[in-house]
Symmetry: C2
Subunit: 441 residues, 2 copies
């Protein structure tokens, strides 16, 4: 009998059905259900749920930067420019945007993003890396996810194509590969070595894929690690780049946590810097976002990607693809500009700059404190081990389940970690924010 619906799970896209997205999947849905039940008065051994399954700092009370929001509000409503509701340097910054973009936030921008913002991103990258950056190679996006999606969509040309992904990973990657009907080629981060990866690990993963007949096309690296928190050194990055170069893999460098580095002495090194300084012949796309870092402006959806050593003909195709969606949201674009060009002591009155600096310091210290606390807390638990959180926003503990728990999971036909999580004792992926309910600095 024909279904009363024309579109059903038997005739819809298989790729969509196959895509799994754990961040907002089973556990997230279960949490929402329990939250609703709690509100309806149902009893649980706890009274509230803190959703730590995704980096969403402002939900946990992290305030946005006063300066950024003041500037954005005046760009949103240029009527504020003729008031004295903000410090004149704040209004000057907003006015600067409106001079560059006379139509303000309401018109479509260039599909690639406002030129002014791309120029400031290029300057930011140049200052960070000491390597030239061309605004024409920069594409603004609604958050980093859209850029990753567009990049994979551009690269992948056959169901036989594969992409190397770190495991543990941010689950967007496997979901995007399913959507693009491509092969996942996992490479395993070594927990005992602080989630590092060796050339041998990469080569083993690559060879296994090759043996299966997979045409490996690209390599995803997340640095600082999500959800594993490692911060790679320049020499570790070079090893990875040389591997990618040798095997003709496009590198997708997810660098959205580049400001989130807590380990003493560690510093962020970009793939771009390593590739350029060492003249490694490799195609590279790097991603950044306004959702993480210290601003944590997840809802605004700002971000960009930069192409390095990408074939100009391929770049023309990427540009075309981006034009289909007209332009990234303009508020996110201005926020991206504020991220790459924050106020400085030189260009801003002391009282304005000082407030910005203090807010930044407070957020960084709070994140760092929580990174340390959550590690300490986890290490103190029986049956739990955890690496130091060097950067990003997550700790990734190992929970040593007793054999009976593993048997029980088998009996229920679910994975042991899902059993553990569903039992509600713990959320599978610790976020620092978890600790805010226990203590704060």
């Amino acid at each position: 009998m024909a279904s009363k619906h024309f579109l059903t799970v038997s005739n819809m896209s298989k790729a969509v059905i196959e895509a799994e997205y754990a961040v907002r999947g089973t556990m997230s849905i279960l949490a929402a259900k329990i939250n609703k039940e709690l509100k309806e008065g149902k009893k649980y051994p706890f009274t509230e749920i803190t959703e730590c399954n995704i980096g969403n700092p402002q939900v946990f009370g992290q305030a946005p930067f006063t300066y950024n929001r003041q500037v954005l509000s005046a760009v949103m409503n240029p009527g504020l420019l003729s008031t004295n509701v903000y410090h004149k340097d704040v209004l000057k910054r907003a006015e600067g945007y409106l001079n560059e973009v006379p139509c303000g936030l309401g018109a479509y921008s260039d599909s690639q993003g406002f030129k002014m913002v791309r120029e400031n991103i290029a300057k930011f990258i140049e200052k960070r890396d000491g390597i030239a950056s061309n605004p024409e190679n920069i594409y603004l996006t609604d958050g980093a996810s859209i850029g990753l999606s567009a990049s994979l969509q551009t690269i992948l040309s056959s169901p036989n194509d594969g992409v190397m992904l770190p495991i543990p990973q941010y689950p967007l990657y496997t979901a995007l590969l399913s959507l693009n009907q491509a092969q996942k080629v996992p490479y395993y981060l070594n927990e005992k070595a602080g989630w590092r990866v060796t050339t041998e690990d990469l080569q083993r993963s690559y060879d296994e894929a090759k043996q299966k007949g997979i045409n490996v096309r690209a390599l995803v690296v997340i640095n600082p690690g999500n959800p594993t928190g490692q911060v790679l050194t320049a020499s570790e990055i070079l090893t990875i780049c040389e591997f990618a170069s040798k095997n003709r893999l496009v590198i997708l460098g997810d660098e959205v946590y580049q400001k989130n580095i807590y380990k003493e002495g560690a510093k962020f090194t970009s793939f771009k810097k390593v590739v350029a300084e060492n003249k490694v012949p490799v195609d590279l796309i790097s991603f950044h976002s306004t959702s993480k870092g210290l601003m944590g402006e997840c809802g605004v959806r700002g971000g960009y990607f930069e192409l390095h050593n990408i074939d100009p003909q391929v770049q023309a195709q990427i540009t075309k693809l981006r034009t289909m969606y007209l332009c990234p949201n303009t508020t996110g674009q201005i926020l991206t500009d504020l991220m790459v060009k924050p106020p400085t002591a030189q260009d801003t009155a002391p009282e304005v700059y000082e407030q910005f600096r203090k807010e930044e310091e407070a957020i960084f210290n709070s994140l760092k404190y929580r990174a340390q606390m959550v590690t300490k807390f986890l290490k103190g638990m029986k049956g739990v081990t955890c690496n130091e959180v060097e950067g990003a926003m997550y700790a990734f503990p190992r929970i040593h389940l007793p054999p009976r728990a593993i048997e029980e999971a088998k009996a229920r036909n679910i994975s042991p970690d899902l059993l553990y999580t569903m039992e509600g004792i713990f959320l599978i992926k610790y976020k620092f924010d978890l600790l805010t309910i226990f203590s704060s600095p």
Copy 2:
């Protein structure tokens, strides 16, 4: 010899290469080039270029609503709530949002969009159609394009699947079908009948596709028409819905111009209303946007789609797909709320409401005036005919080229319309805004 790039046009996605997007394609690139040359002092028989190839009203001086921008700026910076920079009713509206969404614009919302906004959209639809609407069937998006893309991605499951598209069309549709590697099934709007389509036209198109072995899955209807400007009556819509129902096609109803109706006596009727009132058994997805209408807030990227009679299992897949991109930008969500729930004389002080109403009236009258003027102007040109612009933002004239022009185009191996356009006499698709350079009300 191996390319120095790993990713090349010969090994990248064929689907991306095949996708064409005319709105920002050849002509747009040529216009940008000429614009640059004009600035550098090169002589042309004109001194400026007015880019009318896309509905982008604020570029042509259409101002955003004062009320909307004031509210948005206060939601962006809640610090404004404790000032008296705006009327208290404006601040009250902003405060209302912040009460519902305590984290403001900085946190990820529900992937489907803020619940409050979905509830207000449902009320708006109910009021518009007199038909119940469920907020759970509404999905907020960054503009309508993203929703169309997600819908087609969900529906299409094989390279043999096809989608019926009106010709002339908004070129996003053909581009999205190429990206999804599906078949375009054109149906031709009848210019002489005011761009209407008959069941016979639809059936002919469908039958031809079937004969080619195409599995026709969905039907796109744009009402009011883009770029053709026709406004369909309820009975015309019913005919289309019955055709879709008979042939088990999902209807994609692009209704982003629903506020842009200029023809005396014409009114917008939604597909949802017709389908529900007539109990037509058909799967329907309807799209709306903040980019058009009277606000024309293209850069903010707000919009939504509503599911009607969609299989719950399919809906779960759509929900999953939307979660991958975390959430639509929050500014666009609040703007969508302002669109579906504008200030009224009942809930807002007279001076605030009156300003809003006057701005709305002025924009509508200006659009309507330009719709009439551009038609009159085109009709007055030798060799040009043009239907009345009943709605939307475009006139679509027929330019009767002389045989020699057509021969010349053949000789240059380009289409006659491209020849005409490239010769710089005229842009192929007239926008009302073109006329602002000649006259304004």
